[in-house]
Amino acid sequence: MASKTKDRDLLDLQWYTALSDYITAIVWSPDGTWFAVSSAAGEVVQYAANTKTVTVLQVAQGKSIDALAVSGDGVFLAAGGQAGAVLVWRLDGHIPTQIVALGHSHIWIDRLQWNPHHPELAYGFGRHVRVWSATQQSEIAELNFRSSSVLDLAWHPKGDRLSVSGNQNIKTWWRHAWEDTPVVQQLGGASEAIAWSPDGQYLASGNNDRSVMVWQDGNPFPWQMRGFPGKVRQLAWSDPRRSISTPLLASICGEGVVVWTKDRDPSIGWNAQVLDFHQRSVRAIAFQPQSLQLASVADDGWLCLWRKANRLTQLFEGAPTGFSCLAWQPSGKTLAAGGGQGEVLLWTQTTTGQGFG
């Protein structure tokens, strides 16, 4: 491996298991002691990070689970999918307990997220977003997005507002006044993915008209980044660092990963760097917490680690038909990735000087 790389940053394959179909989501608990995995066969499985003790929350159903989310306090796990139901488990007791199954019709649920500071779950339900409170055990808001089905949603890091994206616009509702008219941000196309930067300063949108737009909080005029060869499917912000004033924004489009850095000169805007390696569609990207290291996985069966989001330093295989998703443990020490045939793999930081010879 490259000599410049610090050994302590290298990852080693630690553990491997498999579910019965395509891994649709992996999520970590906030304290990093467990993670949960879902599959296109409908399985939901919880694993203890140290012992790898398995708790099956739902067995294969034939209908996929497409989204998982853990509440900010780590007490609740929510899952949604093709069956149109949202399932919520309480995980702070000895045995996980399913506390609710919000049943719906045939509407496929593939977007859900907990408020980072309150046990309130927002999920896309056709053209609406519903907000369900675990404290009150009931729905506390129904937001009508109107313009189209909800394509993505994101809570502001402070938890005080919820942004929802779809065709032609992004709408943001304030939590203290759900019934108020939302703030609308217009787009030329449909927003496939939105993300608030961890410092809450920027909202980014990846669009089907081959563009990325970024709004600075409070400024109605966005930056527009064009030149993508296809639609922009996912975005990821780096954690704030002392060395840079603005977090980095990574985006995926086709086989490419593009990392955007805000120039010091406001008239220049954002500079792009293309991370070129993957041969097939990139499926997911994520910055290592408290770091600028970026991980990417793709249909080509490679997991790549990009040091400072620019230099390829490590490569892993393990999903012959392609990787589907990934998630860093909040400490950044372990990386989990899922594959197209149900593979679940964990890589952990090697101790100094070991591992590579």
Binding site: P229, R280, G301
Partner: protein
């Protein structure tokens, strides 16, 4: 480097037809037929279809614009989402059928398979099948959707033929031919047709030979009482590549919304191979095909289906792209 096995794209058939045309009967037939294929169906109207072992998904039609209202840049957001979710499953299906509502505009459905880069890597458009109620279509000629469904089709089922006379049927078929000269037309009762005849058409495969209905070409006078029609150009001679590019570019830019579909085989100057192309509205796709055979006459053949084609002066402007006779060596 890992060598990943080449993944095959799943063929998609788009099934259209005006209300009551027999579309659902045809779908039921395809699903129950013993063809051994695993079929998934995406529907916009939840009908009485419920077949074991086949996956049926109901979605609401959603049109997404990608470029400020340009009709050529509209796609179906609902299909994009469902297809990308469906393609994750290990027990993938062999064929996908999309049944549109009777009032659906076929263009955004077709464009979805060419414009969306992710959809394109997973599925490919096989053919557009339109079911026409031979008895009641007369009442629907005023409806734009009914006309466009015929104009965009690769296969047309003239259904319920038992309810009309042979003379009526002849007249109807002529009229449909005038609108769409490239579709295969089958006459059916109760939508009875062998599945193998309509699935696996590869109608959007560029290397699939262009077939203009000979009756359309042989007719001496076409009746053009419709605004929607077909126009075929058959010209010997070599084409100047630059002039051709400029001509097609301008045509699609200015007339794209009125050109529903086009297909063609071209003889480019200095090339030993045929050049084949097709288009849907402003979307254009072309590539080099097989070499011309020695005993084959190098003829340019183009077919346009669209609205007000007469006014586009296509024949003259196309001829202007030919290499001038005296310039040929």
């Amino acid at each position: 480097m890992t060598v990943t096995t080449e993944r095959k794209t799943v063929p998609v058939t788009v099934l259209t037809g005006y209300l009551g045309s027999g579309k659902t009967t045809l779908l039921n037939r395809i699903l129950t037929d013993e063809h051994g294929q695993k079929i998934a169906v995406i529907m916009n109207e939840f009908g009485a279809v419920g077949i074991d072992n086949q996956l049926v998904i109901d979605v609401d039609e959603e049109i997404f614009e990608m470029n400020n209202g340009c009709i050529c840049c509209t796609v179906r957001g609902d299909l994009i989402r469902i297809i990308s979710n469906l393609m994750k499953r290990r027990d993938k299906f062999d064929h996908l059928i999309i049944e549109t509502t009777g009032l659906a505009d076929p263009a955004p459905v077709i464009q979805t398979f060419f414009v969306d880069d992710e959809v394109r890597t997973q599925v490919r458009l096989d053919a557009v099948i339109t079911v026409v109620d031979a008895r009641h279509i007369w009442q629907h000629w005023g409806a734009e959707e009914a006309i466009e469904q015929i104009a965009f089709a690769d296969v047309i089922l003239l259904n319920k033929i038992d309810l009309v006379t042979e003379v009526e049927l002849e007249t109807l078929e002529q009229r449909i031919r005038g609108m769409n000269a490239i579709a295969k037309v089958f006459r059916t009762r109760n939508a009875q047709i062998e599945t193998a005849m309509i699935l696996g058409m590869n109608a959007f495969d560029l290397n699939n030979a262009l077939q203009i209905d000979p009756d359309f070409l042989n007719e001496t006078a076409h009746e053009h009482d419709e605004t929607v029609g077909s126009l075929a150009l058959i010209e010997a001679g070599e084409l100047d590549g630059d002039k051709l590019n400029a001509w097609i570019g301008e045509l699609l830019r200015d007339r794209g919304p009125d050109i529903f579909r086009m297909k063609g085989i071209l003889n480019l100057a200095g090339e030993d191979c045929r050049f084949v192309f097709q288009g849907v509205h402003m979307l254009f796709d072309g590539c080099q095909d097989r070499p011309w055979k020695s005993d084959e006459s190098r003829t340019n053949e183009l077919v346009f289906i669209g609205r007000n084609l007469e006014q586009m002066n296509l024949a003259d402007s196309f001829r202007a792209c030919l290499v001038a006779q005296n310039a040929q060596v």
